[in-house]
């Protein structure tokens, strides 16, 4: 019945707007007369939705005779089902097919990256179970407290943000009280970061050999907690995490805080964490920290700078993003470097995204890896590449 009412309302608007087609204007010109067409009005709610994208990407190695180092089709299908106003299911299924390499990759070709059941228990609490992604911290570029989900690091610095984080089987209980949200998280799965595999241009056996990465034998007793407060002009979050260190078989405990404050056009961000590597006597406990500032006073643009001390190494990240043509063209530049004066190495990435229409977009960019004392960047320094992709959203 509601849909019928809605339809008749839309029709009446359509008729009315056609009647207005030849409106005049007052004595100050510039205002247009026009026919306004209502293209579609979505129903106010759906119980089931399916959407996503198909993406074809090519990476060209700027060294090595400009070989095509990757020619990949990715599919990302999202489904949402709302059983009633309190119970929802969501899933994200991914598929990758790379035609150009002989990578012996044992990571999921078909990957159920997210599959969650969300239940609103009452007005003050929610429960979410399933493979999910939980992002911690305030930083946009350097991960200090964002440790719950591992990453897809198969092509460092290039992976699309939607493909970057790996979902993980978790139970999450949220309580809401005034300005505060309290979350308890229990891990049921250890899922570590994906690294370059044999056959990949980025593969280095000293760094990425399976022999040196150990998986956990069990997943007992890993949990996390956060308390997040949102206030006028500022947010603060406290974290505690007991979990495996990525790609190792020992655990760490992290106690952390993240804070951000907005002053005029500036957003100030900070994170501080104490990591107690209590299960590994060979690794000292470490304090990681991050300070960042983002300036949004540029029309349709932003500039951010972050500096961090992570694992006793100084890390810098500078990002500039600018939109053009009513946000159909986005151009971004990211420079990330390690140690003082970038002596540890790093990378510079310049890329653009152009929306041809609501369904099709083109992305293109360059990434330069800077060699340095950091063994990772020294290892991948000859992998500078040009990347481009075309994406169809449905």
């Amino acid at each position: 019945v509601l849909k019928n009412i809605s339809l008749s309302f839309i029709t009446s608007i359509l008729l009315a707007s056609n009647l207005n087609a030849s409106d005049g204007f007052d004595d100050d010109g510039g205002f247009d007369d026009e026919t306004i067409e209502i293209v579609s009005i979505k129903p106010s709610s759906h119980n089931f939705d399916i959407y996503g994208f198909v993406d074809y990407s090519i990476n060209t190695d700027l060294h090595n005779k400009h070989d095509i180092s990757s020619s990949k089709i990715s599919t990302n299908i999202k489904m949402e089902y709302k059983y009633d106003k309190n119970i929802k299911f969501k899933s994200t299924i991914k598929n990758y097919s790379d035609f150009s390499t002989n990578i012996n990759n044992d990571y999921d070709i078909y990957d159920i990256n997210e599959l969650t059941l969300n239940v609103k228990l009452d007005e003050e609490s929610d429960f979410t179970f399933g493979r999910q992604i939980i992002v911690w911290g305030k930083s946009d570029n350097i991960r200090i407290t964002d440790k719950i989900n591992s990453l897809n690091n198969t092509t460092p610095g290039i992976v699309d943000i939607e493909d970057l984080r790996r979902g993980r089987l978790l139970s999450k209980l949220d309580f809401y009280n005034g300005n505060w949200t309290y979350s308890g998280i229990f891990m049921h799965e250890a899922r570590f970061s994906l690294l370059p595999e044999p056959g990949s241009d980025y593969y280095n056996p000293q760094l990425f050999s399976k022999a040196i990465r150990k998986g956990p034998s069990d997943n007992d007793g890993n949990f996390a907690f956060s308390a997040s407060g949102n206030f006028q002009g500022q947010d603060i979050v406290f974290y505690f995490l007991k979990d495996y260190v990525d790609n190792t078989s020992f655990k760490s405990r992290m106690t952390a805080v993240a804070y951000n404050k907005v002053i005029n056009s500036f957003s100030l961000k900070s994170e501080l964490s104490y990591n107690d590597n209590y299960e590994n006597n060979n690794v000292d406990s470490v304090v990681d920290s991050m300070l960042g500032i983002e300036y949004n006073g540029i029309s349709d643009g932003s500039l951010s700078f972050e500096v961090a001390n992570k694992n006793n190494t100084i890390q810098y990240a500078t990002r500039y993003s600018q939109s053009f043509l009513n946000q159909t063209l986005d151009v971004s530049l990211l420079h990330s470097s390690y140690k003082k004066n970038g002596s540890g190495g790093g990378f510079t990435r310049l890329w653009s995204d152009y929306a041809i229409n609501d369904s099709i977009s083109l992305s293109t960019g360059l990434i330069y890896y800077h060699s340095g004392s950091n063994i990772l960047f020294d290892s991948i320094k000859n992998n500078d590449r040009f990347f481009t992709s075309i994406k169809y959203n449905f």
Binding site: F9, Y51, I161, G233, D300
Partner: protein
């Protein structure tokens, strides 16, 4: 020479008296515009049609909820389509107290993250449209001077409406930089204190933005904008246009306070 002096004197007197002719000052009218009952506890569907200079069209469908808290307003906007922005959500607390910056958060589903957005970023485009973030909230009247230029009529096929034509001038460069507008001309209807048209002179290279409320409908006795256009022009040339269409507007709904929270923008409705 004497004749010329008399002419100047007459012109001066005429210009002074013309500003005294209007029964209400520009500021007083603009206060009434802001104080006008525009409904409370509102749910609406919103469609934005973004049209470039070649006529290519992009469509954004949204659902909006808003609630007044005294003179403050809380609003949440969910993006329904297209699919690449689906589930993006925007939460804003618009404070009447000018000493407090508005709070704004944006949930980005691709990042799985809620970002706090500085509210002073008013001149950036709202989701690629010709409307800016500043257009989505009430202006701070202390940041401007207002002058009634004249009384006129806005004529449409559906009838003509008597309006005050009011010039709005920012008090300093900071306000210009924040909003992106050098000066604005507002056409305020005398029968209901609605801005029916506005002309904004942009800081950006001689551009002018024309905002036009094309269709108004009474909902629960309140005059409500149904179709609004914003057209950015340089000279007579249209650079970009946005058509904003509200539909399924429901007022005086029982909207709970916990709708206007980060929980809601992250979990959806």
């Amino acid at each position: 020479m004497i004749k010329f002096k008399k002419f100047i004197l007459a012109l001066t007197i005429a210009s002074i008296s013309s500003s005294l002719l209007f029964a209400e000052s520009g500021l007083s009218i603009m206060k009434k515009v802001l104080d006008r009952d525009d409904g409370d506890n509102i749910i609406a569907n919103m469609q934005m049609q973004l049209i470039d200079k070649k006529g290519h069209k992009r469509i954004r469908d949204m659902k909006t909820y808003s609630k007044d808290y005294g003179n403050d307003e809380k609003k949440v906007i969910f993006f329904l389509s297209p699919s690449d922005v689906r589930n993006t959500a925007f939460l804003t607390f618009d404070y009447a107290d000018d000493s407090k910056d508005d709070d704004q958060w944006l949930f980005l589903p691709a990042l799985k993250k809620t970002k706090r957005i500085p509210s002073s970023d008013k001149d950036s485009s709202f989701m690629g449209s010709d409307f800016t973030y500043g257009d989505m909230v009430d202006p701070n009247l202390d940041d401007y001077t207002f002058k009634v230029i004249k009384e006129s009529y806005v004529k449409r096929k559906s009838g003509k409406n008597k309006v005050w034509v009011i010039e709005r001038t920012p008090i300093n460069q900071d306000v210009i930089d924040e909003t992106g507008y050098i000066k604005s001309i507002a056409y305020v209807r005398q029968d209901n204190y609605m801005i029916t048209r506005a002309k904004h002179f942009l800081k950006k290279s001689g551009r002018v933005k024309y905002m036009d409320v094309k269709k108004i409908q009474q909902i629960d006795g309140i005059d409500t904008a149904i179709i609004t256009t914003a057209t950015t022009k340089k000279g007579r040339r249209t650079l970009h246009k946005t058509i904003l269409i509200n539909s399924d507007i429901k007022m005086n709904q029982d909207l709970k306070d916990n709708l206007f929270t980060i929980r809601t923008i992250e979990k959806g409705i």
